[in-house]
């Protein structure tokens, strides 16, 4: 069940739903309903539809192309968008680097990058993590040496989602050496199409190849691509992390997974009756649905009184943890719902253009891959252990 809103926001939600119900190109909707992987082009096509509607960057200031919505309206939009079978909006440009550019970038940078992000003309990726650093982000080792009006960058980044598609990367790099490890870090933008940049896919345990390691061998980055001041990158990174957490609960996605779970459980049979009527399975569905209602309530509660759009505080760590656990419960229940048909692994089926015959019911395809892949959501963007540390420190005062 979904939380009800007041009349004004109900109308707003209806408006959003109406657009999303009809706005997604039918082939994309079918693909996403079926759990197939959208191509780069699919993402861009859908993002351009949103751009045409003026809804590509709701969180931006109006002068740059934002909607002027309140924080609650943005939550409503994000939730409905997440609940829609459509390629997910790729966050690296619009909700990750853009707020940093808006807050700390030069006018030239704003003018150059923001319109291109809005129109999905550049695909961005993120260069934060390094293999040695892990959760200890600030101990990064990639280095930029000044060389005239350029930096020469050497080192590597990892866990870089969609680096293979990317035109641009924003990244953290060490430009200074001494003092605290958070000092001496700068925030740079890099053109991915240039000599010295090598992208290596990392195959994940579900067989996917959407994440990568990126290696830098004397890559030249113009100093004009420095955001703000040299050595202040850590501050900008923290600002970005706070913004990244806005839609961290992913209520919309879980709503969609829950609906799918119920649909499948109504279809699947257990001892001659729908699995949905089995009291034990039914109880497990109800438990997660009740948790999801709690989460949605917490999200709405967190933003409802806020008219300023200030970045969310440490309470967003709670939303991240609970959101990830709910997603993982749902993806796991989905595999359990289909019995033995959770086992066949047919990755070819997800590739565009494959026309072989799938095994078992259509809806079972890819459920296992999603379950396996979704273990990432309690790891990336600050693992749940790190989020608990944040709550312990910043909310409980330890």
């Amino acid at each position: 069940m979904r939380m009800k809103l007041d009349a004004a926001h109900s109308r707003f939600r209806d408006e959003v739903r109406q657009f999303l119900d009809t706005g997604v190109p039918l082939d994309l909707r079918d693909k996403c309903e079926a759990g197939k992987r959208p191509s780069k082009d699919d993402h861009v096509r859908w993002q351009r539809v949103l751009y045409e509607k003026g809804w590509m960057a709701p969180g931006w200031p109006v002068e740059h192309g934002g909607t002027g919505w309140t924080p609650l309206q943005r939550v409503i939009f994000d939730t409905e968008l997440g609940a829609t079978p459509a390629p997910p909006v790729i966050a690296f440009g619009v909700t990750m680097v853009a707020p940093v550019i808006i807050a700390f970038g030069s006018d030239a940078q704003k003018k150059k990058y923001l319109p291109r992000i809005l129109k999905s003309e550049d695909w961005w990726c993120q260069g934060y993590s390094e293999s040695e650093a892990g959760s200890d982000l600030a101990s990064l080792k990639t280095r930029a040496m000044a060389d005239g009006d350029h930096y020469i960058v050497n080192g590597s980044k990892t866990w870089t989602t969609y680096a293979q598609y990317a035109d641009m990367m924003f990244f953290l790099v060490r430009t200074g050496g001494d003092g605290k490890k958070q000092d001496g870090i700068s925030f740079l933008l890099m053109d991915m199409h240039q000599p010295g940049v090598t992208v290596h896919p990392i195959i994940t345990m579900d067989g996917g190849d959407e994440i990568n390691s990126v290696f830098f061998d004397n890559v030249r980055v113009p100093k004009a691509n420095l955001i703000g001041e040299e050595g202040k990158g850590w501050t900008y990174a923290k600002y970005l992390l706070a913004h990244e957490r806005t839609n961290i609960a992913r209520v919309g996605l879980s709503t969609r997974l829950l609906a799918k779970l119920k649909r499948i459980a109504a279809e699947e049979q257990m001892k001659g009756r729908p699995l949905l009527d089995d009291p034990a399975f039914r109880a497990r569905i109800a438990a997660v649905e009740i948790d999801l209602l709690a989460l949605e309530s917490a999200v709405v509660r967190a933003v409802s009184g806020d008219k300023t759009g200030k970045p969310p505080g440490p309470e967003s760590s709670m939303l991240k943890i609970k959101g990830s656990l709910i997603q993982q419960d749902l993806t796991e229940l989905l595999t359990e719902a289909v019995g033995a048909y959770a086992l066949p692994y047919q990755p070819e089926w997800f590739e565009p253009g494959w026309n072989g015959e799938p095994v078992g019911p259509d809806y079972a395809l890819g459920l296992a891959s999603t379950y396996i892949n979704w273990r990432k959501v309690s790891i990336y963007g600050g693992s749940n252990e790190i989020q608990r540390n944040i709550i312990a420190k910043q909310i409980l005062g330890f």
Binding site: M1, M3, L5, I285, I290, L293, R388, N389, I391, F398
Partner: protein, 375 residues
Amino acid sequence: MDLSLNDEQQLLADSVARFFAKTYTVERRRALVASELGYARENWKQFAELGWLGIGIPEDLGGIGGGPVETMIVMEGIGRHLVAEPYLASAVIGGALLSRGGNGAADLLVDLAAGNLTLALAHGEPKSRFDLAHVETRAAREGNGFKLTGHKAVVQHAPSADRLIVSARTSGNVATADGITLFLLPAKTPGMTLAPYRTVDGLRAADVKLDGVVVGADQVLGPVDGGHALVESAVEKAIVALSAEAVGAMEALLALTKEYLKTRKQFGVPIGSFQVLQHRLVDMFMALELARSTAETASRALSDPDPRYRARAAAAAKVQAGRAGRLVAQEAVQLHGGMGMTDELAVGHYFKRLMAIDVCFGNADWHQRRFADLA
């Protein structure tokens, strides 16, 4: 859509906080629940003067016309301070039933709001197990009135109630919703006997036996055969109120436990410096906050016209309150170690109240099933 409290609600919250901070310490509470009555009549009078007993009652009937959010505010305070007065039984449940009980009943609302009337709902029975439609107590026609025979189980706050609202079957089978009628009985009604006792949380209850109790037609509350809908609606309000109470109790436990972890030293350091204990406290915090959000959503849902939405939100809140309440209470005791097991500390008293809250009107499993069946 602003979910923060409006000015009046904030004033109410402040007055609740102020009043209980003044009147309720663990020691005072201990004395109160050990007393004959089990709570303080002075407090009850104050509740009336502060207008709390009139929440949900229209202004022309002596109430202040507030709504579920106001009830939530009071109940959170009650939970935070382990308040022993029969607010839930009289103001929330009694008020809800009288409000829908027809003309005669409406007059009693004035007394209720003024603090001159306390009530208890005698509905559950030894074999009913939370099922509101399960009523074995019989009301046989007798002249113009009825004759009541049956056994009502664990009627909370019955020993101190001025009147009992008793349900009995005027038609239908043991477990059908149709055919249940409510009756309003003065405490000292011939043929009605109370076996009073304490409950685990220090509050009072009684089993009520009805042995051919003769009642007049004027003692019927609401429509004959139509009592189930009234009870269902009152219990819906009650479980949401209980969820808010649980939130208050969990808040208090979280604060006590946090304080304990920060001050209690072992192995030369405050035990709160152990990361394992910090993360356990984080899990308590999260359980509390999610239960709080659900209780708020359910409180607001009580004003919604869609009965299914109301019922599901209420059930969800009770599930969260029950599960979170057990988790928070168990962990609070565990993190306090041996001290948490003692009667001396407040921790155990919150533990017991949270356990009772889970049981009242159906535990987490029960309402989780209802939530699923209402889909």
